[in-house]
């Protein structure tokens, strides 16, 4: 036999606002949202309700009633989020808890109440705990979800309906208590059916013809003649493993063993769920009450214990065991879905390769920081500093081919360096140049090739590049900045060395 508890949060959103902003207590306020071009009241506080402000009113009307009305934003997703959190909390009362939008919870309390002594104590505990935490609730317990729901919301009687007593409990209640469509309820009101007892004994064929099959279904659900779906919430279990030690651990070897064990447990779970960790945190609880914490990050989801161990290995030296560590907790706060295995079927070797390389890069970043690794892709620019752009990930592929028709030096100086040249005007390559005190006599030269600044990116003078070779065979990339002028001579720079 099933027993269900319905919890009704009478002012869910308002209570939540009061919990967050206690200074609003005693003041009329409303939550409003824009709907069809006007502001609509979505929830009103108790003081506002006393003044006649109700959910569904246009905000302008509410303001006319109470000009000092405090108006807050209404978040349409907040109710669901709140209820989910409350449902997870309510798992202390029953392993099966369902969210009943928009303002309730349903607990499958079959076989749970005796742990609190009796059903009365059980319900009392739920209600008093919720009330203590600031939520105004009403609860009811019955054999069916429908009956519990109805009694919680519409009955002032004793909220525990004895097994099999649903019908007698429902008789006095209004038709709303059956969770019927608004149109059906309206029709019943017009017909003068103000209580359930006025129509529940009618033959089903009559009810079906007048009010539709839905009404019959709802009556069946409330009375327990037909089943009602119950979708319990499944709280996400954090990827966390604990390892307590018999004796306090003080050595690096001990910590290593603990990390290995924890990672094996964690990775077994991750593999089972098809997940990979992007971050892992190890907390070491010392006997003196201090907590030592080290964290690692990976560049791709990983469920390899040996790889993560290698990352942790680099950080073991930063753990101070002091008098000893009695508890290790390993947690993966950020996990991601692992790429599907299908990929591996057709690209076996390269996928393995990529994993191995990603693991290598993880180790490098773990030790030296994330900004040490660079990979470049071609960019559609002639300006040498902009001809390459940094790739974001290891698997980024170039959109265009690398150009091999442009002769570029294999060593490029970070900043062009000033040189002194003697060059015949106007456009001949220099005859010699002096760089860092050495004079290089130029024997061969290619050029000039002019590279203009891209005006949409930056201003500046163009560069006329020459590839030159001196008598020792050294090959240089030098350029003249701008034109020869009337009074000023353009400056010359060296920008790179050819192989």
């Amino acid at each position: 036999m099933k027993r269900y508890v319905a919890i009704w949060f009478r002012h869910l959103l308002v209570d939540r606002v009061l919990l967050r902003q206690p200074e609003l207590a005693g003041k009329p306020f409303a939550l409003a949202a824009k709907e069809r071009g006007r502001m609509l009241v979505k929830a009103a506080s108790r003081d506002a309700q006393k003044l006649g402000i109700e959910a569904g009113m246009v905000l302008a009307d509410a303001r006319a009633v109470q000009p000092e009305l405090e108006v807050l934003d209404y978040d349409p997703l907040l109710a669901e989020k709140l209820l989910l959190a409350l449902a997870e909390w309510a798992i202390r009362y029953s392993p099966l808890v369902a969210v009943d939008l928009p303002d309730g919870l349903i607990l499958d309390a079959s076989g749970c109440a005796h742990l609190w002594g009796s059903e009365t104590a059980y319900l009392k505990d739920i209600a008093s705990r919720l009330k203590a935490s600031g939520y105004d609730v009403r609860t009811a317990m019955a054999d069916t979800i429908g009956a519990a729901w109805a009694v919680a919301r519409y009955s002032r009687a004793f909220p525990i309906i004895e097994p099999g007593e649903q019908l007698s409990a429902l008789l006095q209640l209004p038709p709303h208590a059956l969770r019927l469509d608004a149109a059906v309820v309206e029709k019943m009101q017009k017909l003068g059916l103000y209580q359930i007892k006025s129509f529940i004994y009618m033959p089903p064929s009559v009810l079906r013809r007048r009010f539709g099959q839905g009404t019959l279904d709802q009556i069946g659900k409330a009375l327990g003649n037909s089943q009602e779906a119950f979708e319990p919430v499944c709280p996400v279990e954090p990827y966390q493993e604990r390892l307590s030690s018999l004796e306090p651990i003080r050595t690096a070897t001990g910590i290593e063993i603990a990390i290995q064990k924890l990672l094996e447990m964690l990775c077994a779970r991750l593999v089972k769920d098809g997940k990979g960790a992007r971050q892992a945190v190890l907390r070491c609880y010392r006997i003196d009450g201090e907590i030592q914490q080290v964290a690692i990050g990976t560049s791709g989801p990983s469920c390899s214990a040996s790889h993560m161990f290698k990352l942790f290995e680099l950080k073991i030296s930063s753990i101070e065991p002091a008098l000893g560590i009695e508890l290790f907790v390993m947690e993966a706060p950020v996990v991601e879905h692992l790429g599907n295995a299908q990929e591996a079927l057709w690209d076996l070797s390269s996928a393995n390769k990529m994993t191995a390389i990603a693991e290598l890069l993880d180790r490098l970043t773990a030790r030296a920081g994330a900004d040490v690794i660079h990979r470049y892709l071609p960019a559609q620019h002639h300006w040498p500093e902009r001809a390459i752009t940094e790739a974001v990930s290891l698997t980024d592929q170039p959109q265009t081919d690398w150009r091999t028709d442009q002769h570029r030096p294999v060593q490029l100086l970070a900043e062009p360096e000033r040189i002194i040249v003697s060059a015949p005007v106007p456009d001949y390559p220099p005859m010699l140049f002096r760089y860092k005190g050495d004079i290089h006599r130029i024997k061969k030269a290619d050029g000039p090739s002019r590279i203009e600044q891209e005006w949409w990116i930056s201003d500046g003078l163009h560069r006329d590049y020459y590839a030159v070779e001196d008598e020792q065979g050294g090959r240089y990339w030098i350029f003249r900045l701008g034109h020869y002028g009337e009074e000023t001579n353009p400056e010359w720079f060296i920008h790179g060395f050819f192989a």
Binding site: L360, L364, A368, V410, L412, A445, D446, G473, F497
Partner: protein
């Protein structure tokens, strides 16, 4: 006579055993070995096989030599990477221009550059990279290196079989290190004919100063159209025209 023959056979076998213990492998019959287009340079290596399993040390003392060495190393790494290999290029003050690597047969997006600030980190990173057998080659640029450190790297290479190319940029002293061979690449003036103006293909004086179980030597090479070519003194334009009359 017979015993002498046996003895020489025995010595030859022992020699090849020692080589295989040192990480060299004799060319198996029918298997074509990669010579990376190095041609005549291959004769210097034991059994004529390029020692893939080993650290290669390159020394350069001037910016021109550094550039030539970088070009040569890029070309060599490109040959090792072939179509789909990946390479890691580690250094402290990296001046290599990734864009230019494509001229040496390396697709620059297949190279991962790692720029570190401390020598200690750099050595550690080179060792870690050499341990990763998914890589085709590891290029490291480092200033100072002592025997112990290089020995450690060499041992790592022997385990993972990833070729290491270590570039010692302007070292204060050229102390011996545990590498299979020491290269020195210097730029050579381009071809001196007058038919084509300009600076032409990169030309290098490639010197192997030391090589384990091999003969050191020096060659003049040109890198042309993706392969190394031995420079033969070509007929100059003047001689050509003179000959033609």
């Amino acid at each position: 006579m017979e015993t002498a023959l046996k003895k020489s056979e025995l010595v030859a076998r022992l020699r090849s055993d020692i080589l295989s213990l040192q990480g060299f492998r004799a060319p198996a019959l029918g298997v074509k070995h990669d010579d990376f287009g190095l041609g005549p340079v291959m004769k210097t290596f034991p059994e004529g096989v390029f020692p893939r399993v080993g650290m290669h040390e390159f020394v350069s003392n001037s910016p021109e030599q550094t550039a030539a060495t970088s070009g040569f190393m890029a070309a060599l790494a490109g040959k090792m990477m072939k179509e789909d290999g990946l390479c890691v290029w580690l250094g402290r003050h990296r001046t290599v221009y990734p864009f230019a690597l494509s001229q040496f047969g390396v697709s620059p997006d297949r190279v991962i550059f790692v720029d570190l600030k401390k020598d200690k980190d750099l050595l550690w990173a080179i060792e870690e990279a050499l341990k990763c057998d998914a890589l085709s080659a590891v290029v490291g640029e480092i200033k100072e290196l002592n025997l112990t450190e290089s020995r450690r790297l060499q041992l790592t290479v022997e385990e993972s079989r990833v070729t290491g190319l270590l570039h010692r940029v302007a070292p204060r002293l050229s102390n011996p290190v545990a590498a299979v061979c020491r290269w020195r690449i210097s730029p050579l003036p381009g071809a001196s004919d007058l038919v084509l103006p300009g600076i032409g293909f990169p030309r290098w004086q490639v010197t192997i100063e030391k090589v384990r179980s091999g003969e050191p030597g020096s060659w003049r090479l040109e890198f042309r159209d993706g392969s190394f070519e031995l420079i033969t003194e070509s007929v100059s334009f003047h001689q050509y025209t003179a000959k033609a009359g």
